[in-house]
């Protein structure tokens, strides 16, 4: 199967697990009994008895029941469980699908791949020589073109566009009463739509870097190479399985061109599956030290200081401090957790003018949901928003002893995974004995050792923590040769693209999923 085997051995508390029971209603046309005959029911059988035929089919009163098939779209439309692509088999989002397009002989589409910077860091960390992200991308591009891709990009420029657009969105809000929650994390969005629809008004409508890359490729780059959007098959390589869910959203499908912004998403761990024989990314490839065509058309390797999950909050903080230079930055972390930090901007009068937060991981999201619910007076009564006891409730407020406790949140960078995207569910994991290219790895000699003084659980945890630290380091390692464009040049390019792309290519919308009730979900 396509999902990386390394996934199970981690002990990370990624919240996205399948629900207890899928409640997809089976719609079937009860046609007259088929040729198969159902087992003869017992004379006293209840009227709704479901029996199993010889070949394992299900019959209800001699009617053969249709086998329920669950597709990705069912999961997106259902509120029955909090699901993730990690456990739902998605035919249309697999490496086999990509291979099908790569190998099609009659009117082959223009094959384009866009690789996330977190994916590059993850792959680089798994290599003994850890090439710079820039060289690694060029080697990957070389290998991908070998198997039929036409163009290979990274997604840092589309992230840049996403950051520019979210500033526009933030600036359009009423300064005295604003709250923007980032939307680049599809796991978080999935959770909000299914469990906390009351938060949708606060979710940023700016598209994620993946989806803006989709817009760029389909509606800008395709023109550049004299193609139509539907001539292009666009694959993204992401650190996250839930990006598959995002790409499959109806909002990112164009009826006009009958095409999706991103046709298929593969994870960092799945990219190796595209190759029939293992590729060695540690050897040089021709022209790996010079700018490729792609890099000349779209800027590459743009670093955004802040977090390895997109730097959304840092981006807003920088903007505000640029506007008002004498603002003082204070950070607070109630339990000293790197995944839950508040960033306060305080003016000369010691007033807090902006409260931002970084909130990663499910447990911190729970507290965010409770906090926002209280600050904004919204509650869904579902999920962990918590409610005060119906009667007699004493008013409880969180008192951390900080004078700015009463300031409401303005902006939150939310990610479902602990440590954010660098630790995404689709990333390569430590402890696998061979890397994606099939090379044996010796973690001990590379400082990703399993600590012998600890038991196995502690060791796995210990090496996982070290591993994430290693990937994070590689992510931030400046790529030396990529400074071909200055910030102002990138901004100029961004301005050009933003002008060329219609608003619909930069923004999206969200939909609360109403809870359906079905017989299977009855509580007794």
């Amino acid at each position: 199967m396509g999902f990386s085997g390394g996934l199970q051995i981690t002990d990370l508390n990624d919240f996205i697990t399948p629900g207890q029971e899928c409640i997809k209603p089976v719609k079937e046309s009860n046609q007259p009994a088929q040729t198969e005959t159902a087992p003869e029911p017992a004379p006293d059988a209840p009227t709704t008895q479901i029996s199993i035929g010889e070949n394992g089919e299900y019959f209800e009163q001699n009617q053969k029941l249709e086998k329920a098939e669950i597709t990705l779209n069912d999961c997106l439309a259902c509120s029955g469980c909090i699901t993730s692509a990690e456990t739902v088999l998605i035919e249309s989002q697999s490496h086999k699908e990509v291979q099908k397009y790569l190998s099609s002989t009659s009117d082959k589409k223009t094959m384009i791949a866009s690789i996330a910077p977190q994916t590059l860091a993850s792959i680089s960390a798994s290599l003994g020589s850890t090439p710079s992200n820039e060289i690694l991308l060029r080697r990957l591009r070389h290998q991908l073109k070998d198997i039929g891709f036409d163009y290979v990009f990274d997604t840092t420029f589309s992230r840049h566009l996403s950051l520019v657009e979210i500033v526009n969105e933030f600036n359009s809000l009423d300064q005295s009463n604003r709250l923007l929650l980032t939307s680049a994390c599809p796991g978080w969005i999935c959770y909000v739509e299914k469990t906390h629809g009351e938060l949708i008004p606060f979710i940023s409508t700016t598209k994620s870097p993946q989806q803006i890359m989709g817009s760029l490729v389909k509606y800008w780059f395709s023109q550049h190479i004299n193609k139509t959007p539907s001539d292009v098959y666009h694959v993204t390589i992401m650190p996250c399985y839930d990006k598959k869910l995002e790409a499959s959203r109806q909002d990112f499908y164009s009826d006009l061109y009958q095409t999706r912004d991103v046709d298929c998403v593969l994870t960092s761990g799945e990219i190796g599956l595209l190759f029939d024989t293992p590729v060695n990314l540690e050897v040089n490839v021709p022209n790996e030290n010079s700018l490729s065509f792609e890099e000349q058309v779209i800027p590459h390797h743009i670093q955004h200081p802040g977090t390895s999950s997109g730097s959304y909050l840092e981006n807003i903080l920088n903007l505000l401090r640029l506007q008002t230079p004498n603002l003082r930055l204070e950070t607070h972390s109630p339990r000293n957790l790197a995944d839950s930090v508040e960033y306060l901007l305080i003016n000369d009068e010691n007033e807090c003018v902006f409260k931002g937060a970084k909130c990663y991981g499910f447990k911190n999201i729970q507290n965010l949901v409770r906090k926002v619910g209280k600050e904004r007076g919204v509650s869904s009564g579902r999920g962990a928003a918590g409610r005060m006891a119906a009667s007699r409730g004493r008013v409880r407020t969180r008192n951390t002893g900080n004078p700015h406790d009463s300031k409401t949140l303005d902006f939150v960078e939310v990610m479902a995974c602990p440590s954010g995207c660098i630790n995404g569910g689709g990333q390569l994991k430590p402890g696998i004995s061979t890397d994606k290219e099939g090379n044996e790895r010796d973690w001990d000699s590379e400082g990703v050792a399993v600590n012998p003084s600890k038991n196995i659980e502690e060791s796995v945890r210990w090496s996982t923590k070290n591993w994430i630290g290693r990937v994070e380091d590689i992510y931030w390692r400046a790529s030396e040769d990529s400074k071909t464009l200055t910030v102002s040049q990138v901004d100029a390019k961004a301005g050009e693209m933003l002008a060329a792309l219609a608003k619909e290519h930069l923004r999206t919308e969200y939909h609360a999923v109403e809870s359906e009730t079905s017989g299977l979900a009855v509580q007794w």
């Binding site: 918590g386 409610r387 409880r396 602990p418």
Partner: protein
């Protein structure tokens, strides 16, 4: 050693849980009738003193008092956890001050840590949640632990260390969690020996030993490295649901065979090496399942909760 002193037929349905308040003279029971009842030790005897206002929409599966006696937590099949605090200074007037939602399905167990600052809850959704409870503040979620592959039947904190939590599951294992103050709670070890659902596990009063009971009819004593030091098979004739420590030398167990058993523990080199049955009360609840046991050293009283809807109290005399 055990002599029955009282039988409360106060519930309309199965009694699922009993718990003594460690700081006061109160006992609480919870039931399939959605009710929580309070009993008090007054004038040398136990009397029912109150029924809490109904907060839960379904069975109240488990109860836990905080060690400081200030909070009562209730875990319900309605997927929520209630936190109750004493109203004014009336000792039996408790009201629900927070309802914790987040579990996806039935809550099965609740437990407080030694400092009464953390509450753990477990659920059929396979998760264990840890909440921070400080007086006057809204509880905050500290951790969500998805470390079992099945229903988590029971959670319990270490009696002295605030950084240790154990959970028992339908997946036949016990997980021991530790707190990493710079990060999150994590599984530090997994105890595997039972061949079926582990219904409960409890640390000894000293905290040096852990004893678990299971659907596989065995009682297992574990050392702190997760090594079984004593395994008693066929301890009961049917599933064992509950275990309680009376002191460092005696435990009581109960389960689906309706028998309340008292065991003496044998130690060797500081670990439990054997369990000897010293007393068993057949049909303690008229043959119905025994779901929960609780003990208070203050009045030396053992309480049992049964499917017959009654709460039984026993006087315990050590040898």
């Amino acid at each position: 050693m055990l002599s029955e002193i009282k039988r409360f037929k106060s519930h309309q349905d199965k009694v699922w849980s009993v718990a003594f308040n460690p700081a006061t003279n109160l006992l609480a029971s919870s039931s399939g009738d959605h009710q929580v009842h309070l009993y008090a030790y007054l004038n040398e005897s136990w009397t029912q003193v109150a029924s809490l206002p109904q907060e839960h929409k379904r069975t109240v599966r488990a109860l836990a008092w905080s060690p400081n006696g200030s909070y009562l937590a209730t875990a319900s099949f309605d997927a929520s956890v209630g936190i109750w605090e004493k109203e004014d200074h009336v000792h039996d007037n408790w009201s629900c001050t927070s309802v914790l939602e987040g579990h996806e399905s039935e809550c099965k167990s609740v437990a407080f840590n030694n400092s009464s600052t953390l509450l753990a809850s477990s659920s059929r959704d396979k998760s264990v949640w840890i909440w921070e409870v400080t007086s006057g503040n809204e509880p905050e979620c500290v951790s969500v632990l998805m470390e079992h592959t099945q229903d988590v039947k029971h959670v319990t904190f270490h009696p002295h260390s605030d950084e240790l939590l154990a959970s028992a599951s339908y997946d036949d294992t016990i997980n021991i969690y530790k707190d990493d103050p710079s990060d999150d709670w994590y599984v530090s070890s997994r105890f595997k020996k039972h061949s079926s659902t582990v219904w409960a596990c409890e640390w000894s009063p000293s905290g040096h030993h852990l004893v678990s009971v299971s659907d596989d009819l065995s009682i297992i004593a574990w050392n702190d490295a997760g090594v079984p030091t004593a395994i008693l098979n066929n301890a009961h004739k049917r599933s064992i649901y509950t275990i309680v420590w009376l002191d460092e030398n005696y435990i009581a167990t109960g389960g689906a065979d309706g028998t309340l058993s008292l065991w003496k523990l044998g130690y060797s080199d500081g670990v439990i090496t054997k369990l000897v049955l010293v007393e068993s009360i057949d049909k303690a609840h008229g043959g119905a399942d025994i779901n929960s046991l609780a003990y208070t050293p203050k009045t030396k009283t053992l309480a049992s909760a049964g499917d017959d809807g009654s709460v039984n109290l026993y006087d315990y005399k050590s040898e």
